[in-house]
Amino acid sequence: MSERSRAMVRSAASKVLSALVVMFLAATVTFLLVRISGDPLSMLLPPDATAEQADELAATLGLDQPLVVQYADYLSGLIRFDLGDSLFYNQPVSQVIADRLPATALLAVSALFIALVIAVPAGIAAAMRRGRARDKGIMTLILLGQSTPAFWVGIVLILIFAVRLQVLPASGHGTLSHLILPAVTLAVYSVAVIARLLRSSLLDVLSSDYMRTATAKGFGPTHAVVSHGLRNASLPVITVVGLETGTLLGGAILTEQVFTWPGLGRLTIEAISNRDLPLVQGTVLLFAAIFVVINLIVDVTYSAIDPRVRLEK
């Protein structure tokens, strides 16, 4: 193994380790949050339950054990992907989550796809006409997109396309036409963030020497930007897309609620209304895990493709 690839493996290993620390802390926070929320027994039992029934339930759920033992059980369960049983569905939490995960994944991936298809050309178009009318117009739209909450976008889209024009369904899932409105709703904020960042990142790149050389060599501006500028400008964008995963997931919760999309977001809200604490604990942890894993992947690929980052480490 060469010295360079050994350094890469070492830096990747340290990133994995720090991601594990973050996950462990996230699991602990979730555990504490559930425990300080009050006595789960009183929420689960009917008001006329006897003391024996309460003890019995406590024993089944392991709530009669000391907190440290509960915590250890919880952690060892997590390692085996055992998140306990949902109180409402009477199924393992991991099973309930696995049933709903595909819907959210479909929604988030479609939204990200739409966001990239719109944001990349918009960012390039704005950067190439810096300060002109086109740039200002695109920047105004970006500001509007960043300021508009997802659930409001969803309601406006429903009003236009489902109520007035009656061309797309307002809720449900299963076909492509059901996917369009929720995916566009979720994409709006990401379009704004990605386009804005790509623009400023491109502006940095455009003022660099090799871009001036490319233009001096007679490449047209579009050719120079696409073949030289875009590759270099995309790195910071990839990092931010990773960090924006959290916002995307948060937006998915609201979008799913507006369009009654049967994903993890609605599952979380249902679980909260049903006081289904093991399920809430499971979905919250899963959201955190998705965020940590995506950012770990972004981090590692980033240092693998950008030699400057690799050498600094």
Partner: protein, 296 residues
């Protein structure tokens, strides 16, 4: 003190003056500031401005359209219980502003303290605080707010505290990186050399120099806290439903989109315009206070 006098000697004017002058030249920035001023006044004088009691139900006039769009004497129509939409909008602005400003202040205080400590002391404390920031970032803040509200129950103050506790990371990161570069500057190393205590250095020499970035983030944070409060209320997990909020109005309105669009459209517009105005103001403050911009 030291930071302010350095900036003042270079500009022969305080940074606040310079920033205000730059802000006045920003047309959209001024429009946004005026919009926000009107909104603050509306919230303060809500009982005088609202033509009706925001909670008064009138089932005979339910789902009445806006007065300029149909036969009705309600400016923005009424909802499914016959409550006046305009009056509810006016009173709803109180909750939005209260939650937005209080949550941003709480988050700002926590973030500034964390950032100052992490940046100044560095080392193990810095590592621990920044891992905490990573953990915080790993939870979408709306999700954390939902979970806390679910576990602890909802209420105006719980919403404020939760949004305050989940919003500190961006403050902490920016303040930390500023402090890391500030602490090697002469006025800090000299203060330390003549025996000024650490806490005094942080309070008198570092804090005044991070006020401008703090103000920018706080402004943007007010917008995101207002949107987050509306999101929680929209989901029925925020401020109790007997208080009119833009989020709960939107949730009511979604059910009647097919017949009565005005119930959802006006609170949504108010929310979007407020968030837009705050974001424009925040950008304007940043452009006006960032030395890289205004000394050009």
């Amino acid at each position: 003190m030291a930071g302010i006098s350095i900036a003042a000697s270079q500009d022969a004017q305080t940074p606040t003056h310079t920033a205000w002058r730059a802000l006045r030249q920003n047309r959209w920035g001024m429009v946004a500031v005026v919009f926000l001023a009107v909104m603050v006044l509306t919230a303060a004088l809500a009982p005088l401005i609202a033509p009706h009691d925001p909670q008064a139900q009138n089932l005979l006039e339910r789902l009445a359209p806006p007065s300029w769009a149909g036969d009705s004497d309600h400016l923005l129509g009424t909802d499914h219980l016959g409550r006046d939409v305009f009056s509810r909008l006016v009173f709803g602005s109180r909750i939005s502003l209260l939650v937005g400003v209080s949550a941003a202040m709480l988050a700002g205080v926590i973030g500034a303290v964390v950032g100052l400590l992490a940046g100044y002391y560095g080392g193990r404390l810095d590592w621990i605080l920044m891992r905490l920031a990573d953990v915080q970032l790993a939870f979408p803040s709306i999700l954390l707010a939902l979970a806390v509200v679910a576990f602890l129950g909802s209420g105006l103050w719980i919403v404020i505290v939760v949004l305050g506790l989940t919003g500190w990371v961006s403050y902490a990161r920016v303040v930390r990186s500023e402090v890391v570069s500030l602490k090697t500057r002469d006025f800090v190393t000299e203060a330390r050399a003549i025996g000024v205590g650490n806490l005094t250095i942080i309070r008198r020499h570092l804090l005044p120099n991070v006020v401008a970035p703090l103000a920018t983030i706080a402004t943007l944070n007010v917008a995101s806290a207002i949107v987050a409060e509306s999101a929680l209320s929209f989901l029925g997990l925020g401020v109790p439903t007997h208080i009119p909020t833009w989020g709960s109005m939107l949730a009511d309105g979604q059910l009647y989109l097919g017949t009565s669009w005005w119930i959802a459209i006006f609170p949504g517009l108010a929310l979007m315009l407020t968030s837009l105005a705050i974001n424009i103001t925040g950008d304007a403050i940043r452009d006006a206070t960032d030395p890289k911009v205004y000394r050009r």
